[in-house]
């Protein structure tokens, strides 16, 4: 089987669907028409751009360029995590906490998979390294931002309970324990649901893409299983790290709850 190349006309036909949806949204006064078109435009431009970058990168594979691209991806993901927080940590922690957690988990898991599982030479071969890292970062980003958001909003809403427990002589870890557990669960529930539903309810996007591009189904399935495991590990470890470090940061050296380390929510 060979890849059926898509022409500009083919994509334009698909784009017509989005334009039709935007038109309906406009007529129904949903206030979504502009954003929908803008989103479609961004998807097109951003993906074309990364396509170009990957094309150049694949032709001139060098560790330095790949590391640079990986760094840019990480920083953008860190920025996105921060933007999704209702109450973020003030100062460098706001950006650093999520970014460091994603770096720890996504990069470790990606390098592990490249070296031990896939085993290309060199191990950083961009055809494998960049898409793997992208899948991991994208999913870890969701887990980390959901977990952190739940942690900080939970601590804010339940500060009276937390301080009562501190006043009774509980340690900070005991006082925040329930909220911390909830936060990790919220961050991880998506990937656990995705694993449970994979193949029955949903055909994962990566596998679908591979099959459409001509890969034999069993090969695509094996890659998808690998990706699922890697995403589960990356999301899980990333969320645990972010929530644990975040919970530590909510208290000072005398185990006082320091909500002054959180920013006020933005008014939308």
């Amino acid at each position: 089987m060979s890849v059926i190349a898509l022409s500009v006309l083919d994509l334009s036909l698909a784009a017509l669907l989005v334009v039709a949806l935007a038109f309906v949204a406009h007529r129904l006064r949903l206030g979504l028409g502009r954003r929908l078109l803008l989103g479609a435009l961004r998807t097109t431009l951003q993906l074309l751009l990364i396509g170009l970058v990957l094309k150049v990168l694949f032709e001139n594979a060098s560790l330095g360029w790949i590391a640079l691209l990986a760094l840019v991806m990480l920083l953008v993901a860190g920025r996105e995590v921060m933007a999704r927080q209702q109450r973020r940590f003030v100062g460098p922690w706001g950006f650093g906490l999520g970014t460091a957690s994603m770096f720890l988990s996504s990069f470790t898991v990606t390098v592990f998979a490249l070296i031990t599982v896939i085993g290309t030479t060199p191990w950083w071969q961009p055809q494998y390294a960049i898409p793997l890292l992208g899948m991991l970062l994208g999913n870890t980003m969701n887990g980390v931002s959901l977990g952190l958001d739940r942690l900080t909003s939970g601590a804010f809403q339940q500060r009276a309970v937390i301080e009562t427990r501190l006043a009774l002589g509980h340690t900070a870890a005991q006082a925040i324990g329930t909220i911390r557990r909830d936060a990790v669960r919220v961050g991880m529930v998506h990937i656990m649901n995705a694993m449970a539903a994979a193949g029955i309810v949903s055909l994962p996007g990566m596998m679908t893409g591979q099959i459409l591009a001509g890969t034999p189904p069993m090969e695509a399935v094996k890659y998808q299983i690998l990706i699922m495991f890697l995403i589960a590990a990356g999301t899980g470890f990333g969320t645990v790290a972010a929530v644990w470090f975040g919970a530590r940061r909510l208290f000072d050296e005398r185990e006082r709850l320091r909500l002054d380390r959180l920013s006020h929510p933005r008014t939308r």
């Binding site: 006043a167 000072d252 006082r256």
Partner: protein, 217 residues
Amino acid sequence: MAKYLRRTLRLSASPGESSLATLDIIDLGSPLFGPVRLSAGPGEVVGLSGPSGAGKTLLLRGVADLDPTRGEVHLDGQPRSGFHAAAWRAAVGYLPAESQWWEERIGAHFQATADALHALGLPADALAWEVARCSTGERQRLALLRLLAGGPQVLLLDEPTASLDAAATAQVETYVLAYARSRGAPVLWVSHDAEQLHRVARRRFQVVPRGRLEPLA
């Protein structure tokens, strides 16, 4: 969790049995209150009153080390900075004005004897109650029992009878005074009720805005 709590509470209850403690607050303050200098001897109740927002709660929270403060607090001559944070708060029992609960049932938070419950006008099965079904006054008394179950050496009470009727107020006063006397525990008692402070405390102070103390005659 609840089981673990019960165990730690019972463990920490024993060493506090009959320790006579002195509380020394030495120039304690923050940008919002103080500095405050105040000492309370074993079993002594010091009454604090004053307008809302003057800083009474901030003073108690500061002593309990729930907010960052300047100055020092000594318990029996031992500086607070030498205690582990959780150990300090277990020793210096702060009762917030509004009680907070995190488990579904009262008994999951602490244990109390039927005698103790009875002394505060609560039935013996109160521990089996659902928190959501308790009145504010019931929760306030149960929160006091929960605090005392940890055997604190000092009591910092913020309006402990604010939502109680006269009979329950008298029961709480009697119970707290008995605890303070038997344990030799100093008590800082914040109240809006001048008559109550006359009943429970020989030394009384007015907390004036920005959290400074003025002695009351």
